[in-house]
């Protein structure tokens, strides 16, 4: 069964690129049978990307008031993300809308995991902050284990 990993973010706004950076690192490890995508967070495109897949892992930047680099992991199959993610993710509208719309339309994959990496700097043109850079490496490793080595853990 197919697995899709989607990094969500804006490449030109500092820590907002965290999800994209995780996706790039994953692609370098070429996980077998896993599609790795980078997206800006548009709800319709996200829904298209995970349509028909067995497991989707979303990685997004967040701004939830916690320290930069803190990582949240949600099981979106079990709990609606609207309440939790709405105030956490910088693309919450796109990601949360896409998840809930997909759930209502019955197109949500059986397994849905969301990683949110808290950022501190979202300035245009800035790079990743050091804390987020470290978190990106941790999340990339974790996602890789999750989708390849322990596929049953995905969900």
């Amino acid at each position: 069964m197919s697995t899709v990993v989607i990094g969500v973010g804006n490449p030109d706004r500092g820590d907002d690129a965290a999800g994209l950076e995780v996706a790039r690192r994953l692609r370098e490890s070429r996980p077998e049978g896993v599609t790795v995508l980078e997206q800006l967070g548009d709800a319709a495109r996200l829904m298209d990307a995970w349509r028909g897949s067995e497991c989707v892992v979303l990685v997004d930047a967040a701004c939830a008031g916690g320290p930069a680099g803190r990582v949240h992991r949600f099981n979106a199959r079990r709990e609606p993300l609207f309440a939790t993610l709405r105030h956490a993710s910088s693309h919450s509208f796109g990601v949360a809308e896409a998840l809930e719309l997909s759930r209502a339309l019955g197109t949500l994959p059986p397994r849905v995991v969301v990683y949110a990496i808290e950022g501190s700097c979202f300035e245009p043109g800035a790079g990743l902050s050091p804390e987020v850079e470290q978190a990106v490496a941790r999340v990339a490793e974790h996602v890789l284990r999750e989708v390849c080595l322990e596929p049953s853990a995905c969900g």
């Binding site: 548009d42 319709a44 719309l101 209502a104 339309l105």
Partner: protein, 303 residues
């Protein structure tokens, strides 16, 4: 809504996706297209790339027509006002990218005279700039304005669909703007298909533009209404001054006046229904502030 009307939502998403595909083919990517440059485009799409959109565009025409029929069946409040409509008018086409600025009360000016007739200012009670016609005040831009001022420029099929939707060549009910938006989608799908089928890339993708001093004005019909730009360039061709007037600021005063007229007529409604009706009145204009109307806070002051 997705739970109760899955088919309608899927149709809408597929229409939206087609729009994104068109922008990707022409503009290089779906959001913030990168293929546009001063003087034209970096690269012209090939005939095959555009023809590949044809099949989905044919589906989209039918989907747009179904959408017209669907929204025409909505219940609409009996609410009409005598707006001054302002839109572009092109000699032959339904307006989009060029033409003169005309209004339902006789305005007929070239775009570079925009600032002689329109004034944008801060209002103490609002965060948004308000734009008025210097001589007459509030005006309305967007689907209803385009439709009322350019009905006969719509395709035959779209005019026919309008008649079937019981919408004449003139419509002054802002709640029915959703029907006009659907009609415009039908017209746009027909136009797009005709353009795609006739496309032959000829000539250079862009005209040469030599940087230098100058002043430029332009007006386009964004979905929400006319969008005005003015730029002044210095001797090096660097932008020294820029002014952009978005449609939302031009509709701001009409939105407020709609609310002033609407609320007293419906004071008998329960508060949540009245709030809902007010939110609709704002969304009629699809303003950039529509996100804010998710949590419109209604405070009734007993007089």
């Amino acid at each position: 809504m997705a739970a109760d009307h899955a088919g309608v939502v899927q149709r809408g998403l597929r229409l939206k996706k087609l729009g994104n595909q068109i922008v990707r083919v022409v503009g290089g990517r779906e959001i913030h297209p990168v293929n546009v440059r001063v003087g034209g485009f970096y690269r012209l799409p090939t005939r095959a790339e555009l023809l590949a959109l044809g099949e989905e565009l044919r589906w989209a025409q039918d989907a747009a027509l179904e959408t017209v029929r669907w929204v025409a069946g909505f219940p609409f409040p009996d609410f009409e006002r005598d707006y001054e409509f302002v839109a572009l008018r092109h000699p032959l086409e339904y307006p989009m990218n060029e033409g003169r600025l005309v209004s339902s009360r006789g305005l007929d000016i070239p775009v570079d005279a925009y600032e002689d007739h329109f004034l944008e200012s801060h209002r103490p009670h609002s965060n948004a700039l308000h734009s008025v016609l210097r001589e007459r005040g509030a005006y309305q831009v967007g689907p209803l304005a385009r439709y009322n001022l350019n009905f006969e420029r719509l395709s035959d099929r779209t005019q026919q669909a309008a008649r079937e939707a019981r919408l004449g060549p003139s419509c002054r009910n802002p709640f029915k703007s959703i029907v006009v938006r659907a009609l415009e989608t039908l017209h746009a799908c027909e136009e797009a298909l005709a353009l795609v089928e006739a496309w032959q890339p000829v000539g250079p993708p862009a005209l040469e533009a030599v940087p230098g001093p100058g002043l430029g004005h332009a007006c386009t019909e964004a979905p929400r209404g006319i969008l005005y730009h003015r730029y002044r360039l210095d001797e090096r061709g660097v932008i020294a001054e820029a002014k952009i007037v978005p449609p939302t600021s031009q509709n701001q005063k009409s939105i407020e006046e709609d609310l002033w007229q609407l609320v007293p007529r419906h004071l008998d409604l329960p508060k949540d229904e009245l709030t809902w009706r007010c939110e609709q009145a704002v969304r009629n204009y699809d303003p950039c502030i529509s996100c804010a109307t998710h949590f419109l806070k209604l405070e009734l002051e007993e007089a």
